[in-house]
């Protein structure tokens, strides 16, 4: 009995340690990648405004979207569990959502660039909690970004570029 209790603790602490170190490393890597790609994609402009500049000119349009599901790690879950007792900012989940949203926007921009677009208007970002598993655990969040990409028709050289 006492030995089994001990085993439980070992498993718990191992998961916690794995979650802490692997989770931190993964998060640092993800943020590094996000920052790098945000710079690369800085030329693809994304606006939340409804109306495109030069709204009277006919343009090519395409709906572009990007999405990602990011799961939290064991350590974050544990810390968040403690947080719900005390209230206040849940910093560990704030970064999770931040990563998911920025990644979704980046993927949307990547899709726009792949098809030769440099401007996206009416960008909407939404996020949904995707809970899996049977114990109601496994917090994972989906971020989804979409918008309308615009480019002037290539044939007509007289139109100014957006």
């Amino acid at each position: 009995m006492g030995w089994l209790d001990f085993l439980d603790w070992i498993i718990f602490l191992t998961l916690l340690a794995v979650g802490y170190f692997a989770g931190r490393a993964a998060e640092a890597r993800h943020y590094a990648s996000i920052r790098k790609r945000e710079q690369e994609l800085a030329k693809v402009l994304a606006f939340a405004t409804k109306y495109p500049p030069a709204a009277h000119l006919p343009q090519h349009t395409r709906l572009v979207a990007g999405s990602v599901v990011v799961g939290s790690d064991y350590f974050k879950q544990f810390v968040a569990g403690l947080r719900t007792l005390l209230g206040g900012r849940m910093k560990s989940y704030e970064t999770l959502l931040d990563r998911a949203r920025r990644e979704a926007v980046l993927r949307m921009k990547e899709e726009a660039r792949r098809h030769g677009y440099r401007l996206i208007v009416n960008v909407k970002v939404e996020s949904t909690n995707i809970t899996g598993g049977n114990r109601g655990g496994l917090p994972a969040v989906e971020a989804f970004a979409y918008g309308t990409a615009l480019k002037p028709p290539a044939a007509d050289g007289s139109q100014r570029a957006v």
């Binding site: 998961l15 794995v18 979650g19 692997a22 989770g23 993964a26 998060e27 993800h30 409804k50 109306y51 495109p52 030069a54 709204a55 009277h56 000119l57 006919p58 343009q59 349009t61 395409r62 709906l63 572009v64 979207a65 999405s67 990602v68 599901v69 990011v70 799961g71 939290s72 790690d73 064991y74 974050k76 879950q77 999770l96 990644e103 208007v121 009416n122 909407k124 939404e126 949904t128 909690n129 995707i130 809970t131 899996g132 598993g133 049977n134 109601g136 655990g137 496994l138 917090p139 994972a140 989906e142 989804f144 979409y146 918008g147 309308t148 615009l150």
Partner: protein, 115 residues
């Protein structure tokens, strides 16, 4: 399945703008929608459970939701075509988690005939 986001393969423009620059709406045909409910594969769920120890992207889920969204869009496009539209404007997406392990994706917009 043709790519519903592609004007050429879908044969119809979709946009989340209310007004397309330089185009005029000739006829409004009302709301069209497409939806799908998807469940997760148990195997993927177990993998995701393991991934949840270390955190990071759950690729299986990302793909699942993306496929679901493509299908909802495709259904919306089919409906718009059946009423004779050549564009869908003001397209919106919503995602609802119905039960644990299943999600509904809804796409809707206004079907119109552009000049």
């Amino acid at each position: 399945m043709s790519n519903p986001f592609d004007e050429k393969s879908a044969g119809l423009t979709i946009s989340n703008l209310e007004v397309l620059p330089g185009k005029r709406v000739k006829t409004h045909l009302g709301v069209v929608q497409g939806s799908t409910v998807r469940a997760k594969h148990a195997g993927k769920d177990i993998l995701a459970g393991l991934k949840n120890i270390v955190g990071g992207e759950l690729k299986g889920y990302t793909e699942l939701l993306q496929e679901a969204r493509d299908e909802a869009t495709e259904r919306m496009v089919q409906q718009a075509k059946s009423v004779g539209a050549n564009a869908i404007l003001n397209v919106r997406y919503t995602t609802t988690s119905i039960t644990m392990g299943a999600a509904e994706i809804l796409a809707y917009g206004t079907a119109v005939i552009l000049e």
